[in-house]
Amino acid sequence: MICGGLTGRRLAHDTQFLPVALEADPVLVSKLLSGDPRLLKCAVEDASHVTEGQKGPFVRLIQLALTITDDANIAGGELTSSSYGPSTKAAVLAYKTKRRIINFSYQTQPDAIVGKMTITSLDLEVAARERRNEAMGAGRPGADITTKRD
């Protein structure tokens, strides 16, 4: 994974600059998504887009990212089988609609495909959450106890 050369780039729906790689092809930066080879391909190859009917750990990670970012409601059966079924499709469509992720070269409305723009957007939002939580002390000690009497 390419991690160097970070800068700011504005996506269509962004309200602030978020770090992405300078390279021509976007790469994934979140810990959650960047370790999955299938999603890394999705981020750079049209042929590796994730669509309805597909199954695998990469689908579960997309479901997880949608739950983190949008509190998506994914059906239990789709979660246990890690499959891209109707509820995952609805969550992807809602996510893309909310952020106006549309390929204007051939579309006027968003579709329910997780392509380069969508996976990059999901990745950046998850990465922002990771950075926020790390700054807040993720995993650091969080307890104190006393029997105070004086």
Binding site: S30, G137, P141, G142, A143, T146, K148, R149
Partner: protein, 304 residues
């Protein structure tokens, strides 16, 4: 040898509501922390209200301003000779059994997992004192008053626990991501105490129990979030012996050892570090799951 006059010991027990108040277990939640406390002597303004950094040693001292309950014992000595009396100290010694501890956090949805904290230091006996005034529960100025042959001894307590309201679930399925928020869902903590009125002879280091009472505290809370706002189910309890037991306290082996040696692990210096370490990422006390535990209710969390 100074002796306590037989039959002269009079107790004012915590359950009698000394100062017109009784302790009531409760759970305070703000945007970043939770505190199990006993209501009286709890200062909500002292609870950290941001999520940055750690809960440090002493953080809870700003939230707990004083003892939630107090008790006193009054008795007469068989002499008024100040020089003789000065050879002895009187006061309360408290031994604590830190029992079951279970804390759970869960994600807003089953997909976001849950985690449990069950330390391996549960069921430990402590001398519940402070190194500055061991073995007594209180420092000399607060501990005893001597008026001629009359002695009045004081004690009190406020066991409290503070933790972060939210933590991150680092289950391997989540690829070490810090993005998986889990929210406090359950706190169960049971503590047993024996509070002993004692006489200590300075020359011989001999300590003698005069009277005692036992008490138990169970913090037992379940939390749900309705539109993001916490709703607490409180099944906690605090129970005191209705009356103090005069004479032999009926120690078990561990209690007897701590009492007679007047030494042991100090709860307030040992336990905070232990609990902090237990809640930390990577702790052996943490069990992380990539789905909800079976005891997480289906309606655990609805978002704002």
């Amino acid at each position: 040898m100074v002796a306590v006059v037989a039959g002269s010991i009079k107790f004012t027990m915590p359950d009698a509501g000394l100062e017109g108040r009784k302790p009531r277990p409760d759970l305070f939640i703000n945007s970043s922390h939770v505190v199990c406390h006993l209501s009286h002597g709890f200062n909500a303004g002292g609870v950290p209200s941001n999520e940055f950094g750690s809960v440090n040693d002493g953080s809870i001292d700003r939230a707990i301003s004083e003892a939630a309950w107090r008790a006193k014992a009054e008795f007469r000595l068989d002499t008024k000779d100040k020089a003789e009396i000065a050879k002895f100290e009187f006061g309360f010694i408290q031994i604590m059994f830190d029992g079951q501890f279970l804390m759970q956090y869960a994600g807003a949805k089953p997909l976001l997992g849950s985690l449990a904290i069950q330390p391996d230091f549960q069921n430990t006996f402590y001398l519940d004192s402070n190194p500055a005034h061991t073995p007594w529960t209180l420092p000399p100025a607060d501990r005893e008053i001597l008026i001629d042959d009359r002695v009045i001894c004081f004690t009190g307590d406020h066991p409290a626990f503070m933790a972060k309201r939210r933590t991150e679930n680092f289950h391997p399925s989540f690829a070490k991501s810090a993005a998986i928020d889990n929210h406090v869902q359950l706190i169960n903590h049971s503590m047993h105490f024996i509070t002993v009125l004692a006489q200590f002879e300075k020359a011989t280091f001999k300590v003698q129990p005069l009277a005692s009472f036992r008490w138990q505290l169970k913090y037992q809370f379940e939390v749900k979030y309705v539109k993001g706002a916490p709703i607490i189910r409180n099944a906690s309890s605090i129970k005191f012996d209705p009356q103090a037991k005069i004479g032999d306290p009926g120690f078990n082996g561990d209690e007897k050892k701590i009492f007679e040696s007047r030494s042991g692990l100090f709860f307030n210096t040992v336990a905070p570090g232990r609990y902090r370490a237990a809640l930390q990422k990577g702790s052996s006390a943490r069990t992380e799951s990539d789905t909800w535990f079976l005891n997480v209710p289906k309606d655990f969390f609805t978002a704002k």
